[in-house]
């Protein structure tokens, strides 16, 4: 039996416990082989800190974001209304998620359909835990003193004005944060937003993730930090395309913290 626990809302409800926060895992966090590692890293951090959390487990479904952005409002609302029924059924008050697309949809778009929750992105949650002294950085990890660049997710940054929390998390590590030329409000998309993740790009002279990866590599960073499953995929593919996967790693913020903590 492992030391880490992942209670579901159903289990919590059965035992009469109301968790402080629901961890919304998302489809990438549940199914994508690479991104499952991020889910595990975040769960380990939550366990270590002793946060009273739960997940929906098999009761979770896609928020509907890619369907809505691809134009299918019916499908989006079918997903959203069903999810809201589940969330409201458990009387969920606070949601944390590692996916900026889930974050944006639940935070901004579910209220119009009757789902009103306090929603925060895991970068903000991690920043809060660091600020509160609940995560104390060990600072001796593999990136100590090395350059890390942060790639802004559009749905976190421009869409919701979260620019500083992920940077605060990186800076809490003993690393050198270097910025790409296009960052914060001017950050360049990885190419996956607006349901682009689920189809081939239109004809052009270059793929967007290659353009962005070139910019990230130009900083000389040893790691590219991201806060979004789609960005993680796109940037990892870009680094592989440039044959730099042995020199430059792409990590989610939760993974960087988990590594520092030896989790």
């Amino acid at each position: 039996m492992s030391e880490y626990k992942v209670p579901t809302m159903a289990e919590k409800a059965a035992s009469g416990d109301a968790p402080e926060v629901l961890f919304w895992v998302g489809c990438a966090g549940s199914f994508d082989d690479r991104y499952k590692a991020v889910t595990l890293a975040f769960v380990k951090i939550l366990n270590q800190v002793g946060v009273n959390f739960a997940v929906l487990g098999p009761e979770e479904a896609c928020t509907g974001d890619p369907a809505r952005r691809a134009g299918n409002e019916f499908l989006f609302q079918m997903q959203a209304v069903a999810n809201i029924q589940v969330l409201n059924g458990y009387d969920v008050k606070k949601v944390v998620t590692a996916c900026p697309h889930c974050f944006n949809t639940i935070k901004n778009e579910y209220p119009a359909l009757g789902g009103k929750y306090e929603v925060i992105h895991h970068s903000e949650f991690l920043q809060q835990l660091i600020d509160a002294g609940k995560i104390v950085m060990k600072g001796g990890g593999e990136f100590k003193g090395k350059k890390i660049t942060f790639h802004d997710s559009c749905f976190l940054g421009r869409a919701n004005n979260v620019y500083e929390a992920p940077r605060a998390v990186i800076q809490a590590l003993d690393v050198e944060l270097v910025e790409m030329k296009r960052c914060r409000t001017k950050g360049l998309c990885c190419g996956a937003g607006g349901a682009q993740m689920f189809k081939e790009p239109e004809p052009g002279k270059k793929d967007i993730n290659i353009e962005r990866t070139e910019e990230a590599l130009a900083t000389g960073a040893k790691a590219i930090a991201v806060g979004c499953p789609f960005c993680l995929t796109m940037m990892s593919d870009g680094v592989k395309n440039k044959e730099k996967e042995h020199e430059v790693q792409v990590y989610d913020l939760a993974e960087l913290i988990a590594k520092d903590q030896g989790l």
Binding site: E60, A67, F74, N104, K186, G193, F198, I210, E211
Partner: protein, 440 residues
């Protein structure tokens, strides 16, 4: 003294006013082809946004060079219009420099400021012409600008240069005449910039000078009136529309897509949930999403008329940067051009919207809208808070819900979501398997 010039002036002024009134009504009607949308909440925030973004040029200063040159023209436009007030009074009353006796020494200070601004406009416009035609800044020379948009941009710059030259020539001739003690001309001491032009005119006789001065005066005031009318046919409309456009900015988080309430009722019925309007007959749903300009909101169409085609949106668009056909600026131009086509047709008693054409298809293609990553870079980049993304997403809704015409890979994604509640084809029962690793 003949009253003829005053009558001519009044007539010109009245005609220009009437044409302007017709043009403004026409534009208003075109904008209101769009659907009603209420954006009057949070007035304090709206006034503040307008103050910072339109009046204060806040977002222009992301690019400091052009912002500075643009600021000079903008300040000159506002301040030189004070001088136009004097022109109008002089023109109507037959007076000459009516403010001069009242203002005394400060009149020549004011005139020097106007002249300085005229020079600043001249220099800025020349710099802008160089950027467009010689150094050819990429965002100002893209494909969608060929033809009228490029000519329009150059014409505006040339008109502004000529108008400024007229002011300076007028002052130079005026002061030579004043020094010679001719007629009603008043000496205004120390006009520096027009003083530099005096050698050009010193050799002329009194009659020729009066002609130059009067010609420049009429040219300037008629030119300004003509320019005001021209603006209503031009991308330069942003000088007025930037203000309402920023006032009606979307104040919600940029990531939020507007909920389609007409869909919500249907979804709730399908899921067997109580609907809010079950007793009311279903509202008339014209069309899901946007195929043509009348499916958009009036704010979207106002956005299109407020666009001055600077291309900052397109320069930041990840799809455009990597060679895709999508250009957010072209989306805005398409909306305006289609609204113009419909408006002109309606005025000519034509079929208007029923001409067999539409925004999507005849102006904007699916290839363009499909390339959008909804990253909001265009929205962020726009100096007057235009929102091309809202228009793109409404067209996508039309394609998905009315035509079922989305790309095959998106249709597959829809199917996965319908059957397994994930955009990827995984069994919903496996959703929690990631946690097995922790249980080992």
């Amino acid at each position: 003294m003949s009253i003829l010039p005053q009558i001519a002036f009044l007539l010109i002024f009245a005609i220009a006013g009437w044409i302007l009134y017709k043009r403004v009504s026409y534009l208003r009607r075109n904008i209101l082809l769009g659907k009603a949308e209420s954006r009057n909440d949070q007035p304090e925030k709206r006034w503040k946004t307008m103050g910072l973004v339109a009046l204060g040029q806040q977002k222009m200063f992301k690019r400091i060079g052009p912002a500075f040159l643009h600021l000079l023209i903008y300040v000159a436009f506002i301040i030189i219009n004070l001088e136009v007030l004097e022109f109008v009074i002089d023109g109507l009353s037959g007076s000459h420099r009516i403010f001069a006796p009242f203002l005394g020494a400060s009149y020549s200070v004011a005139m020097n400021i106007f002249e300085f601004l005229a020079i600043a406009v001249l220099v800025s416009c020349v710099a802008f012409l160089i950027r467009r035609n010689i150094t050819r800044v990429p965002r100002l020379t893209m494909r969608e600008l060929s033809g009228w948009p490029a000519l329009d941009a150059n014409l505006i710059l040339i008109i502004e240069i000529v108008l400024m030259l007229a002011i300076l020539s007028m002052n130079a001739a005026d002061q030579i005449l004043a020094d010679r003690g001719v007629g009603y001309y008043l000496p205004v001491s120390g006009l520096f910039f027009s003083g530099l032009l005096r050698p050009l005119f010193e050799g002329l006789g009194d009659g020729a000078l009066v002609f130059v001065e009067r010609f420049a005066w009429w040219f300037h005031i008629v030119g300004i009136l003509a320019f005001a009318i021209y603006v209503t046919y031009s991308k330069h409309l942003h000088i007025f529309l930037a203000f309402p456009n920023t006032w009606y900015t979307n104040l919600k988080p940029k990531g939020e897509m507007k909920n389609m309430d007409e869909v919500t009722n249907e979804v709730k019925m399908m899921l067997g949930m109580p609907t809010e309007s079950s007793t009311e007959p279903p509202a008339e749903i014209a069309r899901f999403g946007a195929k043509d300009v009348n499916d958009l909101s009036w704010v979207n169409i106002m956005n299109a008329y407020a666009c001055t085609e600077c291309g900052r949106c397109t320069a930041e668009c990840p799809a455009n940067i990597t060679g895709k056909k999508l250009s957010p600026r072209k989306i805005m131009m398409d909306v305006r051009d289609r609204a113009e086509e419909v408006g002109k047709s309606l005025d000519a008693g034509g079929p208007g919207l029923e001409d067999g054409k539409s925004l999507l298809g005849d102006y904007t293609t699916k290839e363009e809208i499909n390339a959008c990553t909804s990253c909001n870079a265009c929205v962020e980049a726009c100096p007057v808070n235009i929102d091309p993304l809202a228009i793109i997403l409404q067209m996508r809704r039309y394609v998905a819900m009315e035509e079922s015409g989305t790309p095959a890979q998106w249709n597959a994604m829809f199917q996965n979501m319908e059957t397994s509640f994930s955009p990827w084809k995984f069994a919903p029962t496996d959703r929690f398997n990631w946690a097995d690793k922790l249980k080992e």
